[in-house]
């Protein structure tokens, strides 16, 4: 932190050295009226005297008055959505102006790393998402809003939990262990990786730019390989003061019925059948089972003599309501842009008492201290809390009542002594709350040192803290029962400082050679620490975890940790444009990171790109087809360092050894890095690798930007080829070394794809407007190498010789890990057996190579792929791919007078899903194989069956969803002095989904495993936005 204080002092010293003051005499007056082409007067148009900070704005009737000191000055008229015009005054006192509507996009400025560039001058693959253009759907964080807005960006939101995050992948995953989340930069501050951007309120964001190819992302060097999301927050503008109040209220419902037992008789009958077929005593026989729980007989249930029937989903779920209130004051005058906003957000989970609450405040001030010196600050504050009450047992047996004898005064009805899933008991007795606080602050100063040389220095600081309190009572919870009460407090805190200074030189030579050069440095220091306090065996649990000292003093446990990362960087960029036709961009970044070994601490990340604006060439102009035709090509290298620090250090393990009647601490080489998923055996690591380095991604991008029909149709096409080498992985070591694993750089992966965006203004008149944007992305991912077969411990497929390793954790139902990483295949393909039906007779089963119980009628008929006469592990093959072939989205907007309607379709095609709930569900259990129903679709019910991981459970996960519909009405002609404009809208998300997938919803995690659960939510939102 000392260094930053120094930085501040130095910079301010510099600014004072620059101080100049200018005085003008203002005595020439110009007046006029500003109208649009359609004849409407335009209020709020910004008028600036070129080359000065003097300015004015039009009033409500479109009139303006401006005082000049020079009657030969030039006025610049600008207004959002209209082309800016420059008009020389030439001594005139009356200048009426007609502004023409801006044609989409051309002169728009987009933010890139350490600067900005005119969209038309881009040479890299950069998508820009203006928040004004996307419907304000309810969202806790900004990740979800990006879905379907940019080609090459895959956003997956698999959970509806309050505060749940999304997964963002830009152009596929390029890493196995190093992380695949893109870097997020907020107003120049690289705040971390995407996935959980809860600190920033969506309503405070003006735009997001997505840097996809190496030319754009390599400026972020060793953190750029997964792409970069640049977020720009809203600033004060329009030379006026505006107060905006917006309110959203959302109510949600399930998109489908729950797949739960509604007929207890059928449930009991099938359960008995299942257990009898498995050789177990049936449950529903009107007797107590081994745990002392009474299960009614089928007769009791069917005769109605059993008095209990509980629809647990009604007990556990609710129609959650969420609220989002935002008040913002934004103001701009000649010297200062000011923005202050506050957001209060409450979100209910679908489970009772599963709540989330958040307060955000954002202050942004930019002030022109002198003509050539601007300073600014941006402060984001966010605090919130969460009551975690998720995961309640909505699936609980309907024959159990909530309370004994259905009488709440008699206490909860518990199913035996080891019943840890009573939802009401847990809700009322368990504690699990989190409280978090985030602060993001930055300050910058920008000085125009010379007419073409700018210096910008920005210091950023981020602080985050969370506290989790929990208590598991002595009864109702497993942890609490085993430990006679278990409670604790988990603390986590992180701090990050980023200081960056860079110079930008911008000059046009001989009217044709436009140079922009940028160079600077960056320093980053990150630290996080945590502490964990636990107590067990509580004397008295009335205080829960409020008094951990009430636990047995001998069983208390504490732990803490700290992580520290330092990074230095040098960076530079050169843009050259010749005659507004030929464009070239070169970037370079050198990163030094403490995460990597002394032998590889520094890395260089260069990139280069070329562009050709062919539409400025006569031979294209003469075609009269293209309004824009630009070719772009780029190549560059970026990196990924998303692994934990300290892997370059030796790391000792710690345990305890019982000596002479007491426990003593034991410490030495080798520590437990993990546990084997299927045996629970310790995996030993801790041997340092001083050669460790970042993953390197080389990316080629070729693209074109085209516009037709007076720019009313715009097409962007990109092809990319990303090749990542030096994947961070763990290799095996010879056991005589005493270590199992060591981190190394080994392995290669590639992603190739195309991205296509069609964007069109189909109708654009005064009353009517229709726009549509279709975005298509196709990515093909392939694992090229997983390193040396032996050192990586790879398995070999018996039939194809394919080398692979399992990835992820074991699924209990299959006693197998379903996903593999296989050379020549996309990441995470499914690996298992093939099923071609159901065995109809034992002879058939034996003939198929099965034996024992697996050969009986009603079992799966596994295929003997290697044709050796038996079904064994050698008959496994790749049976599915969870990666989509194509992601598509369609955004349509219709405007009629003051109404607007937006529709957003989102689809993902060609991906497979492992549906772990493909059987054993109330919907399909009755369809089981029986002697009377010799189906080929479902096996028989047999408790204790050992299910092999097979393609029977793989389903097509393609879907097309009407993700969002929004209908709004704009109020802007009230002619009230205190009211500027307003908007009322109704928004519905997740209206319908077209899919063959049998589970509730096909939008699931990237490993393609569907776990069941409950349906997705459909959300109805009413929103109002008023500006004064």
């Amino acid at each position: 932190m000392n260094k930053n204080t120094y930085l501040f002092k130095l910079l301010f010293t510099c600014f004072f050295a620059l101080s100049t003051s200018i005085l003008f005499a203002q005595n020439f007056v110009v007046k006029g009226l500003v109208k649009s082409e359609s004849g409407e007067t335009l209020p709020g148009v910004n008028i600036v005297v070129k080359g000065t900070a003097t300015g004015a704005i039009t009033d409500l009737d479109g009139n303006y008055v401006i005082k000049l000191d020079d009657s030969n000055a030039t006025l610049i008229f600008s207004f959002i959505g209209f082309k800016a015009q420059e008009i020389p005054v030439n001594g005139k006192n009356l200048i009426n102006v007609t502004l023409s509507q801006e044609v989409e996009g051309l002169d728009e400025v987009v933010v890139v790393g350490y600067g900005s560039v005119k969209k038309s001058d881009l040479t890299g693959a950069v998508s820009s998402v203006k928040m004004d253009n996307i419907p304000m759907k309810p969202s806790n964080s900004i990740d979800g809003l990006l879905q379907g807005q940019s080609a090459g960006v895959q956003v997956t939101t698999s959970s509806d939990n309050p505060g749940a995050s999304s997964t963002i992948r830009i152009r596929g995953g390029s890493s196995l262990r190093g992380g695949n989340d893109p870097l997020v930069v907020v107003d120049g501050f690289p705040i971390g990786y995407a996935g959980d951007l809860k600190q920033i309120s969506p309503s405070d964001i003006a735009s997001m730019e997505i840097l996809k190819d190496a030319s754009a992302s390599a400026i972020y060097g060793s953190r750029g390989a997964n792409g970069v999301i640049m977020i720009t927050t809203k600033k004060g503008s329009k030379n006026t003061t505006e107060i905006t109040v917006s309110q959203q209220s959302t109510v949600s419902e399930f998109t489908s019925e729950l797949n739960l037992w509604r007929d207890p008789v059928l449930m009991a009958r099938l359960s008995n059948e299942n257990r009898i077929n498995g050789g177990f005593v049936p449950l529903y026989i009107g007797a107590e089972n081994a745990n002392g729980v009474y299960y009614p007989s089928v007769n009791e249930l069917s005769s109605g003599s059993w008095p209990y029937y509980t629809e647990w989903d009604d007990v556990v779920f609710r129609n959650p309501v969420s609220n989002n209130t935002n008040i913002a004051v934004r103001s701009q005058n000649e010297k200062t842009q000011f923005s202050l906003s506050g957001t209060y957000f409450t979100d209910e989970g679908v489970y009772i008492e599963d709540d989330y609450e958040k307060l955000n405040a954002n202050l942004n001030v930019i002030h022109k201290v002198y003509d050539k010196l601007t300073v600014g600050t941006n402060v984001i504050f966010s605090k919130g809390n969460r009551n975690n009450n998720g995961g309640l047992a909505y699936w609980r047996n309907p024959v159990f009542p909530v309370y004994i004898d259905n009488d709440p005064t008699k206490g909860y009805y518990m199913a035996g002594v080891q019943d840890y899933s009573h939802p009401i008991a847990l809700t009322e007795n368990k504690t699990n709350t989190s409280d978090f606080l985030d602060f993001i602050g930055s300050a910058f100063a920008e000085a125009q040192v010379l007419p073409s040389l700018k210096l910008k220095s920005q210091v950023n600081y981020k602080f985050g803290r969370s506290i989790n309190d929990y208590y598991n009572p002595k009864i109702y919870t497993q942890d609490g029962t085993f430990n006679n009460g278990s409670g604790g407090i988990k603390n986590w805190e992180s701090k990050e400082t980023v200081s960056e200074t860079f110079l930008t030189y911008d000059k046009l030579f001989a009217e044709k050679h436009q140079f922009t050069a940028m160079g600077g440095f960056s320093y980053q220091y990150y630290t996080s620490r945590s502490s964990d306090l636990k107590a067990y065996d509580f004397l008295n649990e009335s205080l829960g975890n409020e008094n951990l000292a009430a636990g047995d003093p001998e069983k208390q446990s504490v732990s803490n940790s700290l992580t520290e990362i330092v990074m230095y960087s040098w960076l530079g960029r050169l843009n050259y444009t010749y005659n507004d036709k030929y464009l070239a961009t070169f970037t370079m970044r050198a990163d030094g990171s403490s995460k990597f070994g002394p032998n590889n601490q520094w890395a260089m990340f260069p990139s280069g790109a070329l562009g050709w604006k062919m539409h400025h060439e006569d031979f294209i102009k003469n075609l009269n087809v293209f309004d824009e035709l630009k070719l772009r090509g780029s190549f560059g290298i970026s990196g990924n360092q998303g692994i934990s620090p300290y892997l370059i250090n030796s790391r000792y393990g710690q345990d305890q050894y019982y000596v002479d009647g007491r426990w003593q601490t034991a410490i030495g080489p080798g520590y437990v890095v993990d546990w084997e998923s299927h045996t629970g055996k310790k995996i030993w690591g801790g041997i340092p690798n001083p050669d460790l380095r970042w993953e390197t991604t080389r990316q080629l991008n070729i693209g074109t930007d085209m516009a037709f029909f007076n720019r009313r149709l715009r097409v962007i096409f990109d092809y990319y080829n990303k090749y990542t080498t030096d994947l961070l992985r763990e290799r095996l070591l010879s056991p005589s070394s005493s270590y199992d694993r060591m981190w190394v750089n080994d392995g290669e992966i590639k992603n190739r794809g195309i991205e296509l965006t069609f964007d069109s203004d189909i109708v654009n008149t005064k009353d009517w407007g229709v726009t549509a944007a279709l975005i298509l992305s196709k990515n093909k991912n392939e694992v090229v190498s997983l390193g040396d077969k032996l050192a990586s411990g790879l398995n070999t497929d018996a039939i194809t010789g394919m080398q692979y390793e399992f990835s992820g954790s074991q699924i209990e139902a299959f006693r197998a890990i379903p996903n593999i990483l296989a050379v020549g295949q996309p990441v995470n393909v499914f690996y298992g057996y093939t099923v071609d039906g159901i065995i109809q007779s034992e002879e058939e089963g034996l003939a198929a190579g099965l034996d024992g119980k697996l050969a009986q009628a009603g079992e799966f008929r596994y295929v003997d792929l290697n044709e050796d006469g038996t079904i064994d592990e050698d008959d496994r093959a790749v049976i599915g791919d969870p990666n989509p072939d194509l992601i598509a989205s369609l955004n349509m907007n219709v405007r009629y007078k003051n109404f607007d309607l937006a529709m957003f379709f989102n689809g993902s095609f060609g991906q497979d899903i492992l549906n772990t709930k493909a059987f054993d569900q109330p919907s399909n259990m009755p369809l089981r194989w029986t002697l009377d129903n010799q189906t080929n679709d479902y096996p028989s019910l047999r408790d204790g069956r050992n299910y092999y991981m097979s393609d029977w459970f793989i389903q097509n996960g393609s879907y097309l969803r009407l993700q969002n519909v929004s209908l709004g009405y704009n109020i802007n002609e009230l002619n009230l002095s205190w009211f500027k404009r307003g908007r009322v809208y109704l928004n519905a998300t997740n209206l319908f989904t077209i899919t063959d997938f049998e589970g509730y919803d096909p939008e699931i995690g990237t490993d393609g495993i569907y776990w069941g659960g409950y349906p997705k939510l459909r959300k109805w939102t009413l929103g109002v936005e008023l500006t004064f």
Binding site: L18, T665, N689, L790, G793
Partner: protein
């Protein structure tokens, strides 16, 4: 222009200021070679870490898969995994995961001992502390290397701490002489450095002497009986027997801390880990939080008896409570038949009938309730669920007595042999008359099976006397190489180019 210059100077200064900061980050919250071994307490903790390796779940219980299942003492539960069956059936391959675990854990223990040996000297610790800690580390290195050579024959010898990739591919030793010299040198140093100082769970001078005797006895008998590769030992068989007798004798007569326990059941009393016979005992306690800290050893030996608590009848008629087990190590008929009917080591230490708290019989082996007569050397009456304090007996006084008897094979040896038989309630051998030394040694080895049953020694005894094929039916047709050594695990073969 002046302003610009000022600015550039200022900027350069800022950059310079930041850049001189180092990219090195100190490890925080964990120990590493950069911040450890600074105090004698560090060294102490480091020695304990080497002891702690012995308790690893993939080491301590796995020992019995090798030494008992592959011998004539035990069979394995039929539903146990294929890797366990392979030991009984003598089909252990280089892919065997249990064998891999054993191998790897032995080297983990060696590396932890090497960390002490490499880091403790020269730190200026008090000489007495340094000697004690170094002595224990040398002892532990020898202990684990002895395990490695008995199990695998010629396998890499790790002579120093491994903390670099290029150190992870050690070569094989040239021959058995190199291995045994290394082990014997370590033990010589350990005996020199250590004092007689009993601490439960740690080794002292007596333990080092006992182990030395055991090493020499193994070497002597292996060379004598023609076990493959043992002809490389340079010392004569007689000299090595003499050394074994000398070190065993030092244990029997050179100290008074450890001595013969006249009460058979007392030796295996879980509440007395510091009994007279316990020269070196592994320390585990049921108050531990993870397996290894506590022991589940009892579960392996006891059969499943309905999943509830049962009571065992003691020699004095009292009852001892225990949980039941997993039926993993099932007493073989050969072992049961090795005991004479009067032998208390069977009647008092093997259980054929279990009782309830009131002393009513719950069932017997004959009526099928008790699956097999099970060994009760590992019983913790104060068990908590699966958690027990049952401890492997690593070096026991009676073991040293039998080592002495076998090595000396004279009248003084006969006395030790008879003392043990007397305690067991079986007939003593009146004299060595008419017996060759080899005949008597054979009797001692047979006695060792009965005395040390399920204490992790049987296969080693069969191996060093080259009698595996004779005693273990499943090994009958195998080659001498095959029965003398388990294969080196496949991962070592795959990843260590220097061992082929």
């Amino acid at each position: 222009m002046k302003k610009l210059n000022k600015l550039i100077v200022g900027l350069a200064f800022v950059i310079g200021l930041v850049s001189c900061e180092s990219l090195d980050v100190e490890p925080y919250g964990f120990y590493s070679d950069e911040n450890f071994y600074n105090t004698v307490e560090d060294a102490e903790a480091s020695v304990l870490y080497a002891y702690d390796a012995l308790t690893l779940v993939s080491y301590a219980p796995i020992t019995y898969y090798l030494t008992e299942l592959a011998s004539d003492n035990a069979n394995v539960k039929p539903s146990e995994g294929a890797d366990a069956q392979a030991f009984v059936n003598w089909e252990v391959t280089s892919q065997n995961q249990l064998l891999f675990q054993y191998y790897r854990c032995a080297y983990i223990a060696v590396n932890r001992a090497n960390a002490v040996i490499e880091n403790v000297p020269g730190k200026g610790f008090n000489e007495a502390d340094e000697k004690r800690l170094m002595g224990e580390a040398y002892f532990l290195r020898a202990w684990n290397n002895f395990n490695i050579v008995r199990a695998f024959g010629l396998a890499p010898i790790q002579k120093s701490l491994i903390d670099r990739l290029d150190e992870t591919t050690a070569s094989l030793p040239a021959d058995m002489q190199e291995v045994y010299s290394f082990i014997i040198d370590d033990l010589t140093t350990a005996i020199d450095f250590l004092e007689v100082n009993r601490v439960v769970g740690r080794a002292d001078k007596v333990a080092a002497e006992a182990l030395m005797a055991k090493v020499y006895l193994f070497a002597a008998s292996a060379k004598e009986s023609g076990v493959p590769k043992y002809d490389a030992l340079t010392e004569s068989v007689d000299d090595m027997y003499a050394k074994a007798a000398e070190y065993a004798g030092a244990v029997l007569t050179g100290q008074s801390e450890y001595y013969f326990d006249t009460d058979l059941q007392n030796i295996y009393d879980n509440t007395v880990p510091n009994g007279p016979e316990h020269i070196f005992i592994m320390s585990m306690d049921r108050s531990g939080t993870q397996e290894g800290d506590y022991s589940k050893l009892s579960k392996y030996f006891i059969p499943w008896i309905g999943g509830s608590a049962v009571y065992l009848k003691n020699a004095d008629g009292s009852l001892t409570k225990t949980h039941d087990g997993w039926s993993v190590f099932q007493t073989s008929n050969e072992l049961a038949a090795a005991y004479e009917p009067a032998d208390k080591r069977f009647s008092e230490l093997f259980v054929s009938e279990v009782f309830d708290a009131a002393g009513n019989s719950l069932g017997t082996v004959s009526n099928g309730v008790v699956e097999y007569p099970f060994c009760r050397k590992y019983i913790d009456p104060n068990y908590e669920g699966d958690k027990t304090s049952t401890r492997p007996y690593l070096l026991r006084y009676s073991d040293v007595q039998l080592i002495y008897a076998e090595a000396a094979a004279d009248e003084s040896g006969l006395a030790e042999y008879n003392q043990i038989r007397r305690r067991a309630g079986v007939e003593e051998l009146p004299s060595l008359a008419g017996l060759l030394k080899a005949d008597f040694r054979k009797l001692v080895v047979e006695e060792r099976q009965r005395e040390l049953a399920f204490e992790g020694d049987r296969l080693w005894d069969l191996r060093r006397t080259n009698t595996v094929q004779q005693n273990v039916t499943k090994a009958a047709g195998l080659s001498p190489e095959k029965v003398a050594f388990f294969p080196i695990p496949q991962r070592e073969i795959d990843l260590n180019p220097n061992i082929n």
